[in-house]
């Protein structure tokens, strides 16, 4: 009689055999291909590039693995943590670049054999800096950026007798315009008072200072820019100038469709979304201007990176170069998916001078181009996500429960310091 363990081993062996056979098949298929892990709409851009890739590498397949935005970054975190199932090319969104850079799981593309540092001047400065880790390693190459502007409804402004100059001159003027708009038309100035806070805390950051925490681990959330941001947001809420509407909610798109939201601060891409699906019927009613008080800011952007555990690094690098350094590729992504090019080479293309129909024929791309040069890179800290949550929670308390601004920021500081000390 065989023992129970032996029997179990036999069973395990037959299963292991099956698994091994499966693994070999996958390996055989993986010989002549590279995988690109991406989220919408970068996946579309990558797929569209395959035709050109095939001209150079007719036998190398490009597999674009597409996941929803949040799933993509969760999957990439898991892949990096276990160094398994890593793609050859990883698309990383703006907010995650620094976080992934910190972990050290991505190749330094600044040095040989890649040497992207030599091309630094060809990229929008803030985007390139965003991908540079504290150690000096360049962990990703920027592909598209989201230079921020203020979109506003001309018809609503006209009804309220507010001029663009009045709207964007300063934050106080912006809020004052909101009062007029509300009184004359009933429309909200902004979707959420938090939106104002988000941009004010990002303006006027000194170089090397960081958003919430500086390089030395000092918590900055009670500094004047936070006080001002909170007070402005409170003013917006107290004047009933915001709709308490979160971005990407049903109310948000309905607000745009019905014209109950007069302005929206956002990246350049929002005009495209409004035109394509959010509110196509409002064509011609929107215009863009620089953000109030010339607060230069950006919303989102995509980067290409190579994980250290990738199998086909040379091919991956070729693919990334095609996506980020090829002017034609950058322009076609801009034209098809509103992906504003991070490559400065193409910023003087005739396409930038063309009027945008949705914005009533305004040449808004020139505004976005101007903004892209002025935006500062903000140093990131690994505690930024939790810091943002702490600040937003205290913001809720100020807006909804009437908590004192300075008390709220002091509480936020205490909460955050506790995390920094861990």
């Amino acid at each position: 009689m065989r023992s129970a363990t032996q029997k179990f081993k036999t069973a395990a062996r037959s299963w292991a055999g099956l698994l091994l056979a499966g693994g070999c098949i996958t390996f055989a298929q993986a010989q002549q291909s590279i995988t690109v892990a991406a989220y919408p709409a970068v996946d579309e851009i990558a797929k569209a590039a395959v035709a050109q890739w095939k001209k150079k590498y007719p036998t190398v397949e490009v597999k674009v693995v597409s996941r929803a935005f949040a799933d993509h970054h969760t999957a990439m975190t898991t892949a990096l943590s276990t160094s398994s199932n890593l793609p050859d090319v990883m698309v990383v969104e703006f907010g995650y670049v620094a976080r992934f850079a910190e972990g050290g799981g991505l190749e330094d593309l600044g040095i040989a054999p890649y040497g992207i540092k030599a091309q630094q001047a060809r990229f929008v400065p803030f985007a390139f800096r965003q991908a540079t880790a504290a150690s000096g390693a360049v962990v990703a190459v920027p592909a598209d950026i989201g230079p921020g502007t203020l979109l506003y409804r001309t018809d609503i402004l006209k009804k309220a007798g507010v001029s663009e100059a009045e709207l964007a001159q300063s934050w106080d003027a912006y809020v004052a315009a909101g009062v007029k708009i509300k009184a004359a038309t009933g429309a909200y100035l902004v979707a959420h008072a938090r939106d104002v806070k988000d941009i004010v805390i990002r303006s006027d950051i000194k170089p090397g200072e960081g958003l919430y925490i500086d390089a030395k681990g000092r918590v900055l959330v009670d500094s004047p820019r936070f006080v001002r941001a909170f007070e402005l947001a409170k003013k917006v809420r107290d004047g009933k100038l915001d709709g308490k509407i979160n971005a990407w909610s049903n109310e948000w798109s309905e607000g745009f469709k019905r014209g109950t939201i007069a302005t929206q601060m956002s990246g350049a891409w929002l005009a495209g979304h409004l035109n394509n699906w959010l509110a196509p019927d409002t064509k011609g009613l929107w215009r863009a201007s620089q953000l109030p008080e010339k607060a230069w800011g950006s919303w989102g952007g995509s980067f290409y990176a190579i994980p250290k555990g990738a199998k086909n690094k040379a091919l991956a690098w070729d693919f990334i170069q095609m996506m980020t350094l090829d002017p034609q590729m950058q322009l076609s992504a801009f034209k098809s998916q509103d992906a504003f090019p991070a490559l400065v080479d193409v910023h003087n293309d005739a396409f930038f001078d063309q009027p945008i129909e949705f914005l009533g024929g305004q040449k808004a791309r020139l505004l976005w181009r101007e903004a892209s040069r002025k935006i500062n890179a903000v140093d990131v800290h690994k505690l930024d996500p939790i810091a943002e949550e702490i600040i937003n929670t205290e913001m809720d308390k100020v807006l909804d429960q009437g908590k004192d601004v300075r008390t709220a920021l002091a509480d936020a500081k205490a909460l955050l310091e506790r995390r920094v000390k861990r």
Binding site: A11, T74, G104, N246, N250, D396
Partner: protein
């Protein structure tokens, strides 16, 4: 004639081979994550730096979690939601089951099916439907309230201004509790219906002979006979309620709503790991949550235990 070779398992190994798919899956998706999270609870780990970056930190993660005010806030939210959605579930499900049991004959299954439907519907679909219903300016609930407030006499009872269901701290929890209640009340009704069918009819007949009314029969026969099923149902509600995740997660856009009023402990755990990148603390949180679940399950067990003559 050619004889084909036949792959044959020896009779003694058949049970092991047949069991192995479950055992393997259970080991991979059950036992391994359990052990790994226990191990992680004592480590600090930067996940994007790979497995090698783990460092042993002893009880630091637990010390952090116990002194973390957000953890306690999330526990309070969870307890609130578990009570507000759990208690009514049973208080409604028992009489409802009794009513269906005694009053429906031919349409019984259809009625049960209707009540059971929410339980088997995808959570995402449910949460999306309810967020549409709860919408402040365009939601059906607020539109109905508004039209009710226009009624001549009763109108004064209803609010004129739209209620911000999902963006005001004091409204988030009731809204989430309502969805959870709606979803699981049918499940509990089915449980109690099954239990009702096992109560012998002759007990009721004897009670009728003794002159017991319908209410007395319910109170002295039905309810005591249902006790084992109540124990089972309440235990499921306690465990499920403390692990509540999907409904509040989707209804509040993953953040837990204004001032985190709808952030349950399971949500906080998830966010600590995948948003705040702190897998060690998240694992410690999960084990602390386990302690609470175990404790409350034990208490439920105590409360429903059949009492012996000595007790």
């Amino acid at each position: 004639m050619s004889s084909r070779p036949v792959f044959r398992l020896s009779p003694t190994s058949v049970p092991y081979v047949l069991l192995s798919p479950f055992v393997l899956l259970f080991l991979v998706f059950g036992v391994f994550p359990l052990c790994f999270s226990f191990y992680l609870a004592f480590q600090t780990w930067e996940p994007t730096a790979g497995l090698a970056s783990m460092k042993f930190v002893g009880l630091d993660n637990f010390a952090f979690a116990i002194t973390d005010e957000w953890f306690w806030k999330s526990l309070k939210n969870t307890a609130w939601l578990a009570l507000a959605s759990g208690v009514p579930q049973h208080l409604i499900a028992i009489p409802l089951a009794y009513f269906i049991h005694t009053s429906f004959k031919r349409t019984r299954n259809a009625v049960i099916g209707a009540y059971f439907l929410p339980y088997i519907t995808s959570t995402v679909a449910i949460a999306m439907m309810f967020s549409t219903l709860f919408s402040t300016d365009y939601g059906l609930i607020n539109l109905s309230l508004r039209s009710l407030s226009n009624l001549p006499v009763l109108g004064g009872l209803f609010p004129v201004d739209p209620i911000d269901w999902l963006n005001r701290a004091e409204n988030v929890k009731p809204a989430v509790a309502l969805v959870v209640f709606w979803r699981y009340v049918g499940f509990n009704t089915v449980l109690y219906l099954a239990a009702l069918q096992t109560i012998p009819k002759d007990i009721y007949e004897a009670a009728t002979m003794d002159g017991a009314g319908r209410w007395q029969q319910f109170w002295f026969i039905t309810l005591p006979s249902l006790k084992p099923m109540i124990y089972f149902g309440v235990t499921l509600s306690v465990v499920g309620g403390l692990q509540l995740f999907e409904e509040p997660f989707i209804l509040t856009g993953g953040r837990g709503g204004t001032d985190q009023a709808g952030m349950t402990t399971a949500m906080y755990m998830y966010r600590t790991a995948f948003e705040f990148n702190d897998f060690g603390a998240a694992s410690a949180l999960s084990w602390l949550l386990f302690v609470f679940v175990a404790l409350l399950t034990w208490l439920t067990n105590r409360a429903f235990k059949p009492r012996g003559p000595s007790a």
